[in-house]
């Protein structure tokens, strides 16, 4: 049917036209369409129950509507998120829609169209005079969504949804203009790798392109090993075809014939979605043999990581692909020269590849107009922890941490104080409030001892202990060290042991110097960045929060009241309400007993310091206290209710 003379673009337009028709049908559907965010996070928040809720109530009320599963908008604080497109209304975004709320929406809004349920409404997707629009919110106003533009708005299982918004046009264009041109665009755009180190993608591609050995390979690094970051997962789950398009463009630029998606085992949904996307793209000849009649072919497959952080490192990743233990190898040779099977292999992060289609579509000048001179484009962060609106944010490079945390994410929850921002995961550092003016780009973060790293950002308030955070990360890297370098293997263990002893109140002052010395040695003696950056959490906390270390050592006190061996809980008899026993029921070890004056007290022997009673105690009494060191418990002269009194109590 297709003619020899058709260009890739013409081929694509046939698909795109058909896709647009189908999506138009959806957008102009005469019956309401309900879009539910069903990425992992949405499901965790109960999205599937929400769908079941909608289905049931729609059926009971005899209302016809379509339900579409979409990916993730990144507004984690508001999950499950639902967009309702009700004819006669703009598309409206609702938050925290469980099965119950779904029923209310159907009955009040879909049944008679009278009440759009403002109580759950965030806003209209487009400007509208009757509704607040998303642009009225700081989150939307300050964000610049380039890579995440369609996340949460399209169905990741439907290639047509991506085609209808201009998907694969960049690939068609690239196929027409050739790999050299794609390479030049990405080079001129100065797209820096989003996987941590910020190495220019174009430079890496150029190296691989020049090596004459074939077949070459491109690998999408979706290992996302930072234990507190999830934007790669979201991109894979929400807009898989954008990743594939970027992967194909990279392959074209270097002349690769095979492509692999390396996805960590903990992301089963991402694996499923990507596999389906590959199949759909192949059916439409957007991958596979002779793509869009251009003569260029690319085989794409998915490889599942097996849960080793170090395998995110490119040489270790290649080792694991070859069926070996994932141990980093000395570089050079760089994978771009000699990688998988000793052949040129380019490895890029999910975000890096997801950015490529937009650069090809809009040109390198457009890309360079976003962000800063040295770090153009946008940065995607998963901002979690103690902020009002945690979630995924995409902001231009060059904004300050303050802007990101306070303006975009609503600042610290519950009116508490910001203490630190942990940025870059196990390789990054903890920056104090005084450094919140630091600009977010690859080089500025490095200069203060942190790292862009994965883009994980954990916001911490006064209740988080910095020594404990350093111990946590060191424990993590210690467990993940591949063991090849003595300094990494033994050094991180020493660090962890010292930090552990400090958090249980057995540290010594001279050990603070030991920590610094060991850090130096680990940096110097490690082959790969896992070891080289492992000391960052220790060094930054020592530098910016030394007083906390000192308090642990000299006063056996944890200022954040987090380290359990150094804290204790007691009940203040004054506010504790007679006859109340809310805390008793919640205690996992039955540590709370009734005192002789019928109030409650905690048996310190039994208490495991879980802190549940603090939350269980009604706010109007607020009687449970957390203190550090444990000796701070005042003597209130508590006595348990005597046996006879207890019997009397029970017989009542």
């Amino acid at each position: 049917m297709t003619q020899q003379t058709n260009s890739p673009k013409e081929h694509l337009l046939v698909h795109a036209e058909r896709a647009k028709e189908r999506v138009k049908e959806l957008k102009e559907s005469p019956v309401p369409v309900i879009y539910v965010g069903c990425a992992t996070c949405g499901r965790a928040a109960g999205a599937l129950a929400t769908i079941a809720g909608f289905e049931e109530v729609l059926k009971d009320n005899g209302i016809e509507a379509r339900i579409e599963k979409v990916g993730c908008l990144g507004h984690c604080y508001a999950e499950p998120l639902v967009i309702i497109q009700n004819p006669g209304f703009p598309a409206l975004l609702y938050q925290k829609i469980g099965a119950g709320e779904a029923g209310i929406l159907v009955r009040s809004f879909l049944k008679d169209g009278s009440d759009p349920c403002y109580e759950y409404l965030i806003g209209a997707l487009e400007a509208d005079e009757n509704f607040p629009t998303l642009m009225d919110y700081p989150r939307y106003l300050y964000e610049n969504r380039v890579v995440m533009e369609h996340c949460g708005l399209i169905d990741p299982d439907e290639i047509d949804h991506y085609l209808a918004v201009g998907g694969y046009l960049s690939l068609a264009q690239g196929l027409e203009k050739g790999g050299e041109w794609v390479l030049d665009e990405v080079k001129s755009a100065n797209l820096r790798g989003r996987g941590g180190a910020g190495f220019p993608a174009g430079r890496k591609w150029e190296i691989a392109r020049k090596v004459e050995k074939t077949p070459k390979t491109v690998i999408c690094n979706g290992d996302e090993g930072d234990p507190g970051a999830y934007m790669d997962r979201t991109l894979l789950e929400s807009n898989p075809h954008q990743v594939l398009e970027g992967l194909a463009l990279a392959a074209l630029a270097i002349g690769a014939e095979r492509a692999l998606l390396y996805i960590r085992a903990e992301y089963p949904l991402a694996v499923k979605i990507m596999e389906r996307a590959i199949e759909q793209a192949r059916e439409k000849n957007l991958l596979g043999d002779d793509i869009l009649g251009s003569g260029f072919s690319l085989e794409v497959s998915v490889f599942q990581g097996s849960g080793a952080f170090v395998c995110g490192e490119e040489t270790a990743l290649i080792e694991s692909l070859a069926g070996n233990r994932g141990m980093p190898q000395p570089r050079p040779p760089y994978p771009a020269v000699a990688g998988l099977d000793g052949l040129p292999t380019v490895i890029n992060n999910v975000k890096t590849l997801s950015t490529v289609p937009s650069i090809i579509r809009n040109g390198h000048q457009w890309f360079r107009s976003i962000g800063t001179e040295k770090s153009p484009g946008t940065a995607i962060f998963s901002v979690v922890g103690e902020v009002e609106y945690p979630g995924l944010v995409e902001v231009p490079m060059g904004v300050t941490l303050e802007h990101l945390v306070v303006d975009v994410c609503g600042g610290i929850k519950d009116g508490k104080e910001l203490k630190a921002v942990q940025i870059g995961g196990p390789s990054g550092g903890c920056l104090p409030a005084s450094l919140m003016e630091t600009v977010i780009d690859f080089d500025s973060l490095k200069s203060v001892g942190a790292m862009m790293g994965s883009g994980g950002l954990v916001v911490m308030n006064e209740d988080t202990c910095m020594v404990e955070v350093a111990r946590y990360f060191t424990d993590f890297t210690q467990g993940e060290s591949c063991g090849k370098c003595t300094f990494c293997r033994i050094g991180t263990r020493h660090l962890r042991d010292i930090l552990h002893s400090i958090t249980i109140g057995e540290g010594k002052m001279e050990e603070l110097d030991d920590l610094e010395e060991i850090c130096e040695a680990v940096i110097k003696g490690s082959l790969c960045s896992l070891g080289k950056t492992a000391p960052n959490p220790v060094l930054t906390t020592l530098r910016f929060f030394r007083d906390e270390y000192v308090a642990h050592i000299e006063e056996k006190r944890c200022p954040a009241k987090m380290c359990r061996p150094l804290i204790a809980f007691y009940i203040d008899l004054e506010p504790c309400a007679r006859g109340c026993d809310a805390c008793v029921a919640c205690c996992p070890t039955d540590a709370i007993f009734t005192t002789s004056n019928r109030k409650k007290a905690i048996d310190q022997e039994k208490c495991v310091k879980c802190g549940e009673c603090v939350y269980a105690c009604p706010p109007e009494y607020d009687a449970v206290r957390r203190v550090s060191p444990p000796e701070m418990i005042p003597d209130q002269g508590v006595k348990p209710l005597s046996e006879t009194e207890k019997e009397k109590e029970e017989s009542k």
């Binding site: 984690c76 507190g228 911490m460």
Partner: protein, 190 residues
């Protein structure tokens, strides 16, 4: 092949292979021919076996080594290097407590302890009746919903220590109902 491998074991080792494990091994024998013989496919092969049976029985590793023509040592080396692989059967309700950064800061450790106390097993163990197994994982990508726990396939968000009881009770109630349903069916069938 299986009987050959079993014959090579000593008494205690052979005794450790119970009926259930024998079944699993028998199934692996049947599945093996479909797998690639390339050593580079070792990890996907192990993933596939674990995916089907929930764990990697020791003798299965020997069979895989034989299948891809490599040393047993290499297969063990791989299987132990990667955290994903496990060597004992998981419980019917595997519980994975997230100890990623966000969940850790929000008390994931305390949750884990609560599960240990409630289920009377330590992390990494399976209960004697195989009902539960308990593991720690590093970030399941739901950090904004921290602390998170995966029960079976389901992610539970904002799990406070007092929710632990509820999670287990829910499973117990479900089991109880299923048992009753079963009993009813059995009764009607008789």
């Amino acid at each position: 092949m299986l009987d050959q491998l079993l014959a090579a074991l000593n008494e205690t080792e052979r005794a450790a292979v119970d009926e259930e494990e024998y079944q699993v091994l028998q199934a692996v024998v049947d599945e093996l021919p479909a797998f690639s013989h390339e050593v580079s496919q070792l990890i996907p092969i192990l993933q596939e076996i674990q995916g089907k049976h929930g764990y990697l029985p020791r003798l299965a590793l020997n069979m895989v080594a034989d299948h891809v023509q490599t040393s047993i040592g290499k297969v063990y080396g791989i299987a132990t290097f990667y955290n994903q692989f496990r060597f004992n059967p998981p419980g019917r309700n595997p519980i994975k407590v997230c100890l990623g950064t966000a969940c850790h800061v929000k008390g994931g450790e305390i949750l884990l302890e609560n599960f240990e106390r409630r289920l009377q097993i330590k992390v990494g163990e399976t209960s004697d009746d195989r009902e539960y197994s308990l593991e720690r994982v590093a970030c399941i990508g739901c950090c904004a919903l921290a602390p998170a726990v995966v029960v079976g396939e389901k992610v539970e968000a904002y799990v406070t220590p007092s929710k632990v009881e509820g999670i287990i009770t829910e499973i117990e109630v479900r089991n109880e109902m299923a048992a009753r349903e079963q009993a009813k069916n059995d009764a009607t069938n008789e």
